[in-house]
Symmetry: D2
Subunit: 455 residues, 4 copies
């Protein structure tokens, strides 16, 4: 990576109105000189984003020198890239709704299905073939680029790229910790009578796997604040506790943190992710029925909420393209831009990353993709040794790692029967084998258009 | 161990009319000179067995020089023992029925509950405190004795003894493989047109944990017979295959081997244990409902069947005591007596054993109690390196090992809350957390008389 | 392996007058029906052995039905083999003498140089190219054969075959324990006042690597006889102790066991191999000078002794060929024939074997070739879990394992510079780097005729 | 750690005129408010340093608010400490000279004997008893303090403290990399035509153990500069290369870097430490004789040089105490003060640290004390996963780790015979066992005044 010249960023999935716009905003707030090559399967979207992105330069508050360019092919986007950002997803909210409807017929409920659960397995099968293709292109067109993978299921996406191109410089970047860090920050403010405790001021040590990750240490200004969390967990175990009371009723991504409190009190570690995320990695303790979810004060599927957000964003396209409105400058909270800054040599960043286990978590299998703290410096990403997970948490994590391995194998071997073993062994699939077989077929059939790779 | 003198066998649980009588029969068929000290919490039972056992000497076909002695205390039985046999269980068929009724209210079905499942957890809590006590006595009274543990749950019983007395010379002895070996023998007879293929003629390599153990190699007379098993699995996957057609309908310990076939076809290894046993270690694939069990052609609870057997045995007590009838000589199929023979130097025995993992199964945690082939020779038990379990099987085994560790910790710490985490994480407990909490309490309460240790 | 038909044994190195004749004698004492295909680089030798071997049938005490056949090529010998025996060596006693002379100029003394030390490295480079070739032929011509490797250096020979043909069914068979077992048997006779304690009556547990292997348990008739060994070690630490006083002065393969006593008292385990063998694996504690060797009461190079034996054997060729004299029937003490018997299904054999580490020795690197107990049954070899070596012994073993890996890599890569790192790191090479470089070149040059593979 | 109040630093070994004065200088250059409690076995020295240190405040360039206080007992110094610095050594230059003379009689040469070699073993036995005592005091008086250990032998000092007080927050801080980093910086300047490449600008990844540590990555301004090092290594392999030609002839701590070049070319990693340091960890490749050392262009013992430096420092005491002269402000190059700054929350520091292996180096034994990169932030030290050492380097490191374990065991068990096994197995002790025994006794006897702990 050479930071004298203009930075080349390839952004696969670059037609996104969600993460994409946030990323543009964030980038515009930094003194970075870069060309961002946008590739999206839906060319129209990347063309739109090219215009919206380039308009940012006209915003007087824009600090960066950035050029956006919609590319026809992933090859065009990747060729000579210094940084590759991959943030893709499969299907649309209708697909999503259909899958939720199917599993509910079998008595299974999921919140999102992005990382795990029966929907997670199906979505992995839809998205991983593209990851194989991108890994091959990266190997050919930009083997020295840093690849930042943001897509779900994160572990499988990273793992399959490494299987295809073992020398790939890849890590998983996620914002799944932010909500919890903000919540903890809020507790610190209340307890210690301070204000303005920002997410980044909470220091933590992260352990686990993507989506099922935990803090075994948290501190604020050098002070261990685990005791504060414990106090709230014990006091509000039954009722839950929110920074903004009642928010979880209208925002499906919010919760009363009851799941966090329960898991913390049982295992001694703080779930680093939202209640709705970690609930999917557990047996149906919190997801058995809609009533169970209600009792635990979080939300099931966010399909409708997402659909609404999507329409809102759609409504902003025209003004953003015409320049009558700008994307905000900064304001978003992802670590992606900070990570890019650190990779090109603008300071060291302590962050977290998903990478293959080379000792980060000593009691998870080596070579599993695990989540831990990481240190990013110029052209370098180093993970931190984090010790052992509690036995019980490790056992659940190992179950998911085993399933992830099975799914990746299934895709590499183009054999959907292999993935059925992961499907069957998912903690949320508590049904008999024959029903599971039917369910699997029904779900595959519902998204068959995305599974041509396996034909 | 000195084989010049009379062998001292302490038999804890020596009042048994089931395993006890079979053991006596087997012992009588060998040229062994031994005193068997019987201890049973129910003194009356051991007194009865003392008489029945000693009557065997009058049987002209008896080859051994054996004396049975009912002891008042475990101390009396253990003092100076060369061999300690522990085969105890908790409760009676009424308790068993009650526990089955409770879990069924919550939609959970078990076949036996001896080793795992919610009933398995409860039973572990009932039986392990006695194992602590016996471990302490063995440490004091016969530290060099070989301890053969036959009780369920086997892994936890062995593990807790080692935790209490790390130098204990212990291994788990089980007959859980016999049915499968006989079944395989039957297939070989049919396929190869031979007769009299005995269980012991089938050579195998065993891998796994007690109750969830697998053959990765089977041979007969040096010939790999995995292909024969595969042929039947593929052909009879849907209908099942029995040596004695229809037997499974009347004998709950029998089955049409459909579960074995299914697991074999999915994972490539042959379940070494019965369908009803291995089904309990899996998610509710085969146990979701009574209908599911029916489809898979095995049986749920054997409570009534056991009750009937128990009454039958009761009826034999009087004639056996009066000497008007004798126990059979030999005829049973356990390895226990063969193992004792080998330990005192009468030949080397290739058998299997449950011991802490020192390399037997390379991808299970070290120090877990695992099942593998073993070689018993004079005063020596050596386990065999067996390689790796398939990833998916290992993941399920690790889940159980984690639960076993949690249960043992719970008992050592006298804290029932700890065991709840194992309860919650059991593959058959697919219910929401609050219901699981209620279920746990209800089950504990049903057997509270056996849980005074925790008070 | 099919034991109905005549057994096909390929014997590579079959022109040997030393191990070869002993093997023939042993085979003749068993009821075995076999064809032995002899291949030797020196065709004349195998032709001679064909005659000598076939003459054995005329010996009325011969129990076996064996036919010997000298083959022109290794292909002829290996085609369709059930068992492959490889027992080859490099060079002749003149080469051997030359290498000893060279190292002594640099102040280094070795006893044999078969397994380790600077001569061991050079010999590995001479012999391993042939092993590559044989592994390729076995893969092609008899992939299901059991391969018994007897050549030195044993670990490297086995390892390189596995690297070339990973599915090879191979183990290392050695008689290096026998002398120590006989010595221990003698101690037991003296101490316990018994007679006729045969080598095979001493039960042991073996741990380590070939040539540097140890007993952590020894028993006789079930009795732990470690205390007897300790008694002699403590009493005769300074003077040594021999079964046949003074023998070591005339027989270079004998010793006063002082090295064994010293290592036992320091590390708590009994060296399983002879003093002269284990001394070569240690730093120059026992080999610093000829005076040191004298003090430790064993012998340095046996070149002259071997030369004399060789001449003696030469003298027997004519009478053996003419039939005026027979090889003895039985009488030798190798396990090779017993191992063959067990492999074809004539009983189970508890023996020892060198195989890749799959858990046998938990603190040696996995996949290193290690020595442990093993159980051989029909078409099956299983190694035994033996626990941990003491830290200090493990450290020395790991050093040799590292060197072995480096040597194997060097041969696979045809790069003599790679092997120099193993040479340099050998415990006996205590010289400065430049001298080591000269020594290495001088030795390579002395045997350059055997190193054409690297050109 | 609370950074509102004045920082309490306990400095054990605080009477030092060498590291002590450098530390004071460095501290004076930072905005730190601290009390430094000096403890030294020689009270007079700490009293002197109290005066010299406190005089620093009168230096107008002093930025810190620091108070120095000489303490009578280590208890006084440690009570309530936030940071504990331990930098002690054993004996004096006369002892040192005596030990060098003894080993040279046996044909062994060492450069320093601080970390390894026969002198290293003896020095460990002299210093470790004090470390036990300090660990016990820290446990009692300041269990939450961060302990920075600077003494040699570093691994053993850290390990024994952890053995005594497992919860201790300790890491090893060393400046052994600086010289090499400066050398590399010089190469970069020459090659790239840049100036002012400071040590801290060279980014590296460190792997190994204290004294035997290696860089597997080095970069400058994001550019991989391994190729530059390779170029010089290949070009100057025979002659060596110095930044200041000829310096090594007068400064025994300097060298022509030939050892570095040689090791790099053979193993592919750059030795992170000086030639004279790493040479002691290897077999006598570079230390066989004084001639060998000369050829490799570095120096043997620095006893005389050190003696002279010591006299120079002595001469400065009077002016420094009277205030007629001040210690410099800043200027020294240790990371100690930077590490303290980071621990109290003044920014994150990427540095290196010696800590127990929790995954830092995947092919060194877990729990060995290993050297790796580390990240220090407020009240937190995290090590980085660094992957695998090359097999050959790992084997040498494991040998030293084994010896370190043996030495620590020896001290904990107060048994000098145990340490003899480490002595014997040291790479530099290439002598026969009896001579080694005599040498060991002679060395122990020479420093017997320091070994009363073992009586």
């Amino acid at each position: 990576m050479n930071n004298d010249k203009r930075l080349n960023i390839a952004y696969i999935g670059g037609g996104s109105y969600n993460f994409g716009w946030k990323f543009f905003s964030e980038l515009a707030a930094e003194e970075i000189c870069a060309t961002i090559n946008l590739y999206d399967k839906d060319k129209q979207l990347s063309l739109t984003n090219e215009v919206i992105g380039n308009n940012l330069r006209d915003n007087p508050r824009c600090k960066s020198d950035i050029v956006f360019l919609a590319c026809d092919t992933p090859e065009d986007a990747l060729k000579g890239a210094d940084i590759v950002l991959i943030s893709i997803s499969c299907g649309n909210t209708d697909d999503e709704a259909a899958l939720h409807n199917i599993i509910e017929k079998y008595g299974i409920i999921q919140t999102s299905g992005e990382q795990t659960g029966p929907i997670g397995v199906i979505n992995a099968l839809r998205i991983l073939p593209d990851y194989i293709k991108y890994a091959e292109l990266i190997k050919k067109l930009c083997p020295n680029a840093w690849v930042m993978s943001l897509s779900s299921p994160m572990s499988e996406c990273i793992d399959i790229m490494i299987k295809v191109f073992p020398e790939i410089k890849i890590f998983g970047s996620t914002n799944e910790l932010f909500q919890t860090l903000e919540f903890i920050g809020g507790l610190v403010e209340t307890e210690n009578g301070v204000t303005n405790v920002r997410r980044r001021d909470i220091k933590y040590n992260l352990m686990g796997i993507s989506g099922f990750s935990w803090f075994n240490k948290i501190s604020y200004d050098g002070e261990d604040i685990m005791p504060i969390f414990r106090k709230y967990a014990e006091k509000f175990y039954k009722t839950g506790y929110e920074l903004h009371p009642g928010e979880y009723k209208t925002n499906p991504f919010s919760s009363a943190n009851k799941v966090k409190f329960d898991l913390f009190l049982r295992y001694g570690l703080i779930p680093a992710v939202s209640d709705r995320t970690i609930a999917e990695f557990c047996p149906p303790w919190y997801l058995k029925s809609k009533k169970t979810i209600e009792n635990w004060k979080f939300s099931g599927s966010a399909v409708n909420y997402n659909k609404k957000l999507s329409i809102d964003r759609q409504g902003r396209v025209k003004p953003l393209m015409s320049g009558s409105e700008y994307l905000a400058i900064g304001g978003y909270t992802s670590d992606v831009v900070l990570q890019i800054r650190a990779l090109i040599g603008n300071g060291n960043l302590i962050t977290n990353a998903c990478r293959t286990n080379k000792g980060q978590i000593s009691n998870l299998p080596s070579n599993a993709v695990v989540a831990s703290n990481a240190l990013i410096s110029k052209n370098n990403v180093q993970t931190v040794t984090s010790g052992e997970l509690p036995d019980e948490i490790a056992a659940i994590a190992i179950r998911h790692i085993s399933n992830q391995n099975t799914i990746v194998k299934s895709v590499l071997e183009k054999d959907l029967d292999v993935a059925f073993n992961a499907f069957l062994n998912d903690p949320l699939v508590c049904i008999d084998l024959d029903s599971a077989g039917e369910l699997y077929k029904e779900m595959l059939s519902a998204v068959s258009k995305d599974l041509v790779y396996f034909c």
